[in-house]
């Protein structure tokens, strides 16, 4: 197989397991570059990458930007301010503009679910989904899978708990998909308002009591909780949420002694995760960030038709 035989990377569901592993394996090669003094390679020289962000994002945008720059691509950064009240150019017209710029890759972040899917059907460029609404965040899932494989060698057999606002989380959806695919047991933990029963269709277990399940988990994946959810009556207060679902120092002590703590960032210290936990040796939150760049480089490389990289090149 030569690279990824596909135009777009839109969600985990549309990737085969082989493709997932191919991306993770290739990321190793790119990560090895980061310890060198010259971190760029000319793989995407002459190619144009457009970052089209309809939603404010620092981490994901910078991660893609760095990945594209380290591959020597030309970069266009388009940040579009949107709200339902003030609307600028329609997406379809923006698409035509980008087509005219001859962008090879469009990395899209959008607050509306399925916007990248809509885009991909109407443009020849490769579309990479950098997060759409509550739907999918495939590159986050890939970098999380890569991080776990790097740490544990394999995901198969791990029991991974995803904690928090599952309902509004694209990260949770993409991650449960990839973790299940790679053989993990996945449990979702949160209040029923944020973890509706429909999620059992992913063949995951649902728990409302974090304390009970915590000692069984190999990985605790914490999600960011948004204060606005309180207004929607999803939970009564941050105070109560913290008490029942935050990963506190106290709760960390109930975990397995080799537990891995993850978070997609940005973290809310003192809300869903305590300082001591975020900064503890169990946490791989910073490693996730580093790996994000490597995984995104691998995705660009493979979508551009790059051949699988073997172990020797990693040395």
């Amino acid at each position: 197989m030569n690279g990824l035989q596909r135009k777009d990377l839109l969600d985990i569901q549309s990737l085969s397991t082989e493709e997932i592993l191919l991306i993770c394996n290739s990321a190793k090669y790119f990560k090895a570059l980061f310890t060198r003094s010259i971190k760029t390679v000319p793989i995407l020289r002459g190619k144009t990458v457009c970052l089209l962000f309809y939603e404010p994002s620092t981490r994901t945008r910078i991660s893609f930007e760095l990945a594209a720059k380290r591959l020597s691509a030309d970069l266009i950064n388009i940040a579009v301010q949107t709200s339902s009240v003030v609307k600028g150019e329609s997406l379809i017209d923006t698409v035509h503009t980008l087509e005219a710029y001859k962008a090879d890759f469009i990395v899209m972040r959008h607050a509306a679910s399925l916007a990248p899917h809509f885009l991909s059907r109407n443009i020849k460029s490769s579309v990479i989904n950098a997060g759409d609404g509550n739907h999918a965040h495939p590159t986050q899932a890939l970098l999380d899978a890569y991080s776990l494989i790097e740490k544990r060698g394999d995901i198969e057999g791990l029991h991974i708990g995803i904690v928090g606002d599952i309902l509004h989380s694209r990260v949770a959806r993409s991650n449960m998909e990839i973790f299940k695919r790679l053989g993990a047991r996945v449990s979702l933990i949160g209040p029923p308002t944020l973890v509706p029963d429909e999620f059992t269709m992913y063949a995951v277990d649902i728990y409302y009591d974090l304390n009970t399940i915590l000692p069984q988990l190999d990985v605790v994946y914490m999600l960011r909780i948004q204060r606005e959810r309180q207004q929607g009556s999803f939970f009564p207060s941050i105070h109560e949420y913290h008490k029942r679902f935050a990963l506190t120092n106290e709760r960390l002590k109930r975990c397995k002694n080799n537990v891995i703590v993850m978070h997609p960032g940005p973290i809310n210290r003192g809300i869903e995760i305590d300082d001591e936990v975020a900064d503890s040796p169990y946490s791989i939150i910073n490693e996730q960030v580093t790996n994000g760049v490597a995984v995104r480089m691998a995705i660009f490389y493979l979508l551009a038709g790059g051949a699988p990289l073997d172990e020797k090149e990693v040395e």
Binding site: S90, L91, I92, A112, S113, G133, M201
Partner: protein
């Protein structure tokens, strides 16, 4: 003008007639129904070989966007589309801009329809501006030609207002058509709430938003003895509640739309905004229940909820795109293909929902074939395939999830008031 329809299989749901015979039409009236009527001179023959000959179809729920959005559709344009689709009468919903809440506006719609090919009956607003607050001048609206009342597009949220509407309208003996949606529960929703909405990360509209309001309105119909008609029923639970109302002999009728017996919310992933409508497409269980409801007669009417939107309005993120799909041109093909061919309905059972039943509900003296009746006739070749593509769809707006699909059932002729209005001259 004299017309003779020959060789067709005549289906009349009112008299349960299903027989091969000829129909002679003179001066807008059916004058004879018999086998082998002799051909006279100076008579136009319509050959209905291989076709079914039906009473002219009636759609009690369309949106023609005039006044206000004539760029999307007009009464004249919509009427032409309806004629091509086999419809001889349509009822226009009042959620235009301005909302049809005064006699002058009702008269305007009648005026705009005058020179058109088919009969247009305006439905007027229940409340002024459809704001759900004060009752519109129902008596004045009826005098202007309104045939029923509805705040379609929005629910009448206030239960007292709805109560008064059902009560007050009793003196006119016209139905109040409810758009049943608890908008405090459905607010912000894009598609049916369920596995698909969870999977796609789109905000769901629980079927309970529809069912709660149907239950409330039925209880208010019981309280007031008013006439309630429930628009666009989409869920199994709604039908269970309506069945109870009918068991108690309340004056409650309902309609569904062809998309609710043809598609499920699985269509969203493929068709995105083209499959976005309100109420939303539900699950396979609901779809099957709708088909059974039509079979048993629990559902009285099939209405299209024809809702044109311009291409650029639908060609955007599904979250931002408006609700609604066009329905007139695909109605007969879907009835023939899904109900008759796939689910074994007979023609009487299928077509009473688009002929005599809506006429009875609305008090329209049409929708049946009988000597002396007004000559509204639709001729359909049920064995002929149609491909729903940009050539087939003559509506300016092509917002339908059925684009590219093939169905059985071609409308060959539409005769309204004794005149052939389709094929166009």
């Amino acid at each position: 003008m004299t017309l003779l329809i020959k060789n067709g299989r005549v289906i009349d749901p009112l008299s349960k007639l299903d027989r091969y015979c000829d129909i002679l039409i003179n001066e807008g009236t059916i004058v004879a129904i018999d086998t082998n009527i002799k051909q006279q001179r100076n008579i136009q023959i319509v050959d209905a070989q291989d076709c079914i000959v039906l009473p002219g179809l009636v759609d009690m729920h369309v949106h023609f966007r005039e006044p206000g959005r004539e760029d999307v559709e007009t009464i004249a344009g919509g009427s032409t589309v309806a004629a091509k689709s086999g419809y001889t009468s349509v009822c226009t919903m009042p959620n235009t801009n301005p909302v049809i809440d005064s006699q002058a506006l009702v008269r305007y719609i009648k005026k705009q329809a005058e020179s058109g090919p088919i009969n247009v009956h305006p439905i007027a607003a229940i409340t002024k501006g459809s704001l759900g607050e004060e009752l519109s001048e129902m008596g004045e609206l009826i005098e202007g030609g309104a045939i029923a009342f509805s705040d379609d597009g929005k629910p009448v949220l206030n239960s007292t207002t709805m109560r008064r509407a059902l009560e007050y309208s009793r003196m006119f003996n016209v139905p109040i058509i409810t758009h049943a949606e608890d908008s405090t529960l459905s607010s912000g929703g894009i598609m049916n709430e369920g596995n698909n909405s969870i999977f796609l990360g789109l905000k769901g509209i629980p079927k309970e938003a529809e069912e709660i309001m149907i239950a409330r309105d039925i209880l208010l119909a019981r309280l007031t003895k008013g006439r309630l008609h429930i628009a666009h029923v989409s869920s199994k639970g709604s039908l269970d509640i309506i069945a109870m109302a009918k068991q108690h002999s309340l004056s409650v009728t309902c309609e569904t739309a062809p998309h609710y017996f043809s598609l499920t919310d699985d269509a969203i992933a493929d068709h995105l905004a083209m499959a976005k409508m309100n109420p939303p497409l539900r699950t396979e269980d609901d779809r099957k229940a709708i088909i059974e409801g039509l079979r048993t007669g629990l559902i009285d009417v099939i209405a299209t909820d024809h809702a044109p939107h311009l291409s650029h309005e639908k060609m955007q993120e599904i979250v931002f795109a408006p609700f609604g799909i066009i329905g007139l041109e695909t109605a007969v093909p879907l009835i023939i293909t899904i109900l008759v061919k796939e689910n074994g309905f007979d023609y009487l059972q299928a077509f009473e929902k688009v002929t005599i039943n809506p006429c009875k509900i609305l008090g329209i003296n049409r929708g049946y074939i009988k000597e002396g009746a007004i000559a509204d006739i639709t001729i359909v070749n049920p064995g002929k395939k149609v491909i729903v593509d940009n050539n087939f769809i003559i509506s300016r707006c092509k917002n339908t999830p059925f684009l590219g699909r093939e169905f059985f059932g071609l409308v060959t002729h539409t005769i309204c008031n004794g005149k052939i209005v389709y094929p166009f001259r």
